[in-house]
Amino acid sequence: MIFDTLSSFLGNEIIAGIIVACLPLFLVILPYAIAAVLAERKVSAYMQDRIGPNRTGFHGVLQPVADVVKLMLKEDIVASNVDKPLFNIAPLLVFTGSYAAFAAIPFTSIFIGTKLDLGLIYILAVSSFVVAGILMGGWSSNNKYSLIGAMRSAAQIISYEIPTFLVVVTIIIITGTTNLTVLSDYQTSYFWNWMILGGPSLGVVKFLLIPFMIVGFVIIYISTLAEVNRVPFDIPEAESELVAGFHTEYSGMKFAMFFLAEYANMFAVSALIATVFFGGYQSPFGYLGNLMGIKWLIPLEQLFWFSVKGLFFVFVQMWLRWTLPRLRVDQLMTVCWKYLIPFAFVNLLIVGLLVVL
């Protein structure tokens, strides 16, 4: 959509393409990732009776900027025994994977990188791209901690894709679409039309769906938590066991890429959940723009609501991180294979039956 407007405006598809590609990076991802780093430190500080960064800029708001600038200026160590091509390409892969997911995330009804018909599946597919990068990084580092971390990570992310996908399939059964914009529009107007509350359909089925939607939401939240390696599933980078996990050997900008990718990923999965279960960019109470008849206000409102929903889930991820201990690797697999997947299956089955009804 933006691409079409721009290419007709500029008369050149390549320039328009580049602009469209860079727009989300500079408009959304980088500012967001930087803000999330700061938020994480502030949230953790307030949870722990501390103040958090407050010397760099007003109340420390420039802290992540300083971090990133400093990391860019650091020496970039490539140890002599690493597999250099893989070592260098791994952070790029991880960063690309999490960045590419943003292409299909509908921030508003008009601002979206690409209106993919397969948007939902695309996000899931592209974010598991990250595994390849992590595995490469861990393997090529020639460090045992990195290797164990990478192996754990691969096993974990691949396992947790399954419950995530099963839940997504239940949504596809109900809505019949994988296009995220359509999906968001499906849950339009008010919050009782959200998927978590049974979607916009009427009648008994809607109320019957609610408990299963809640179960589905819990499952997908847990498994996406595991997919982005957050506590209590942060065993690939478990600090007390594996030093820093798969990025033990990375320094400088390459580490910054891993670092920012983690936060970008957190937002990507939160955005996915918000879109699938909580109406995406739709406002819960109707639009001021509609009320006052100002049409251009609506996309801004949508952006606001989308950010609020996405950031809320990011905040919950941080909240969990600073509260819970970490699971062990076998327990992690138990949670996935013995609890989440069977429940997701049963959920899928029942929802399917209900939809047929």
Binding site: K144, I148, V231, E239, E241, L242, V243, P325, V329
Partner: protein
């Protein structure tokens, strides 16, 4: 063709976030399963015993502080206790009460660090900081008394370096009252957390007979189910005048002697320490704390082994005196050192993550392991 597999040797430490200092563990791994653990110690060997031979008896006290730097008061009490037995000094009652209060406060501080860092090992970051907040309050009490935060040189042979600050009793009462609810919140946040229990219950079970054979003491032995506490079994100072329980491991959520038991025994011990402090504050007599300090410490010839209950276990001093002002030989029985030796026996067949949990539950301080 059969697939050839090989064990992986993983070196943990001396610089590793959860070896609690400069311990090095050589872990043999089969995938993530631990086949064997070989601890290498001595990276903090500060030659305490050589120093003790070169110093006079009172001069050794600052070095004793630096053995187990988390429990300096208890170390001093133990060493001073041995010296006083050697010289036959009768210590005024007030001094004994103050010593008990200080030792118990320090026990709480030490356990707080043990529990906090244990949470850190399991992956919970926040309890660690909550523990440190309470510890800082104890340290401020010490600082008010003797001016130092960690290493005090407070308990002297025959007396103390300073009498209590006039506000000490009131502030300590305030602390104990506020500390009890904090134990409850620590329990809610960490001890009874489902994930925490999953990680620690039935992990690293230490059977009682193995524990005795390895010479394990302190909370580890009690967690394995034996009611053994030198404060009760061989009372020193004035511990026989207080009413307190010895918490033992009961296997509440798993097996007796697992990591959770070792953790929880420490939590219960903090409650008992608060009890002792409150009783001691109520009974605290008046008097002069400097009256029994000898002008010259020159014990008679002989050997003595005297021991006390430290937060980590039984701390003993074997002193050989040849009748001069310098001890001829001071041998420490370091509880952490002896407790650590058991790690290979109880961590076979567990996962790497369990190994960290077991190591944390042993609660070592490298200053004491290596001396």
């Amino acid at each position: 063709m059969a697939l050839k597999t090989e064990e992986m040797v993983l070196n943990m430490g001396p610089q590793h976030p959860s070896t609690h200092g400069v311990l090095r563990l050589q872990v043999e791994l089969d995938g993530e399963l631990v086949i064997g653990v070989r601890p290498y110690v001595g990276y903090l060997h500060r030659c305490f015993e050589k120093h003790a031979e070169a110093m006079t008896y009172p001069q050794v006290i600052p070095y004793v502080d630096r053995l187990d730097y988390l429990t300096a008061m208890n170390n001093e009490l133990s060493y001073v206790n041995a010296c006083e037995k050697l010289m036959g000094i009768e210590v005024p009652e007030r001094v004994q009460y103050i010593r008990v209060i200080m030792a118990e406060l320090n026990r709480i501080a030490s356990h707080l660090i043990a529990l906090g860092t244990y949470g850190l090992d399991i992956g919970a970051f926040t309890p660690f900081l909550y523990c440190f907040i309470d510890r800082e309050r104890i340290l401020s009490l010490f600082e008010m008394t003797c001016g130092a935060r960690m290493l005090y040189n407070y308990i002297w042979i025959g007396g103390l370096s300073h009498d209590l600050h006039p506000d000490f009793v009131r502030l300590t009462r305030e602390f104990t009252q506020q500390f009890r609810p904090h134990i409850v919140s620590l329990n809610n946040l960490l001890s009874y957390n489902k994930i925490f229990i999953e990680r620690t219950a039935n992990v690293g079970v230490l059977p009682l007979d193995v524990a005795v054979n390895y010479g394990i003491t302190g909370p580890m032995l009690r967690a394995s189910g034996m009611e053994w506490d030198l404060r009760k079994n061989e009372p020193y100072a004035v511990y026989d005048r207080f009413d307190f329980d010895i918490p033992v491991g009961k296997g509440t959520v798993g097996t007796v002697g697992d990591c959770w038991d070792r953790y929880f025994v420490r939590v219960l011990e903090m409650e008992q320490s608060v009890n002792i402090i409150e009783q001691a504050l109520n009974q605290l007599p008046e008097g002069d704390v400097f009256s029994a300090i000898p002008k010259r410490v020159k014990p008679p010839e002989g050997t003595i082994y005297a021991r006390t209950e430290n937060p980590k276990g039984e701390l003993g001093f074997f002193i050989v005196s040849n009748g001069s002002v310098n001890p001829y030989r001071v041998k420490v029985r370091p509880p952490s050192f002896i407790n650590l030796a058991v790690i290979d026996a109880i961590s076979k067949g567990c996962l790497v993550a369990d190994l960290i949990a077991i190591l944390g539950s042993i609660d070592i301080v490298l200053g004491e392991v290596d001396r």
